[in-house]
Symmetry: C2
Subunit: 128 residues, 2 copies
DNA sequence: GTATGAATTGACTTTTACGTAAAAGTCATG
DNA sequence: CATGACTTTTACGTAAAAGTCAATTCATAC
């Protein structure tokens, strides 16, 4: 496990721009350390980027991703806050399950669409 | 099966605004018929709205949703076009599978986060 | 010791997906 | 027929998520 990554290493690995990484830093999603002014990304930062991009692919906004990421961090020491976090986790889980249903339905419909295309191709093969 | 729905009926059913439905029409995603100037939504339009919102929940853009919806419609009569559609379907399927992996990973991490919270709560229960 | 290439900040711009407001048409009901 | 609920078009506004560009800084290779 390497200690640090430069910003361009991460842009290449993840196919994103430096602007994007700086934006995520401004948004408080990551906090790379600095040597002088230069950002140094630790493996933990890299993992956060992974999680951010995963959230994006699932259609979550930056604000939602921030909320989700916050829940991965150390649980706080107060019971009320813990209950609140558990509540939010339940909520997100619900959203994700809805997304999963949406996903399966869409996959089904794509299967049907493909079958229709294949049949149509067969017809053409027969008719020509 | 009702023949027509008014615009507000659909806004209420789906929790979206009239502006949104008109926007989708402008974008060519739906094409309700008209009685005079008033839009009349058929069951097929309603189903399209369903598919649009499903696509949105999965994080697809309007352009992508348009592409997906187009594939559900009647397959064309030319072999080349059919091959192209099948290619696009494969591509979308790939994206959806990626989303599914993302989804499962996120659900796993949420489970872990919740467990951490529950443990922390147990500690507090013991210590107080 | 200066040229070169990577990194930084800050400002402005762009795209997407609607929101919102204005002004007017439609239509059932009292 | 007028009132209110609903609808239409047109047009400008806006928030989110970056893209783009300019001006610098900084280290280092030659």
């Amino acid at each position: 496990m390497r200690e640090y990554y430069t910003i361009t290493e991460l842009t290449r690995e993840f196919g994103i721009s430096t602007r994007t990484l700086r934006f995520y830093e401004d948004e408080g999603l990551i906090a790379p350390v600095r040597r002088g002014r230069t950002r140094l990304f630790r493996p933990s930062d890299r993992h956060l980027v992974r999680q951010i991009l995963r959230g994006k692919r699932l259609g979550f906004s930056i604000a939602e991703i921030r909320e989700i990421i916050k829940m991965y961090s150390e649980p706080p020491g107060e019971a009320g806050q813990l209950q609140a976090i558990i509540g939010t986790i339940e909520e997100k889980r619900g959203e994700l399950r809805q997304k999963r249903r949406d996903l399966e339905e869409t996959l089904d419909e794509l299967d049907q669409a493909e079958e229709a295309c294949v049949e149509r191709l067969a017809e053409l093969g027969v008719n020509t």
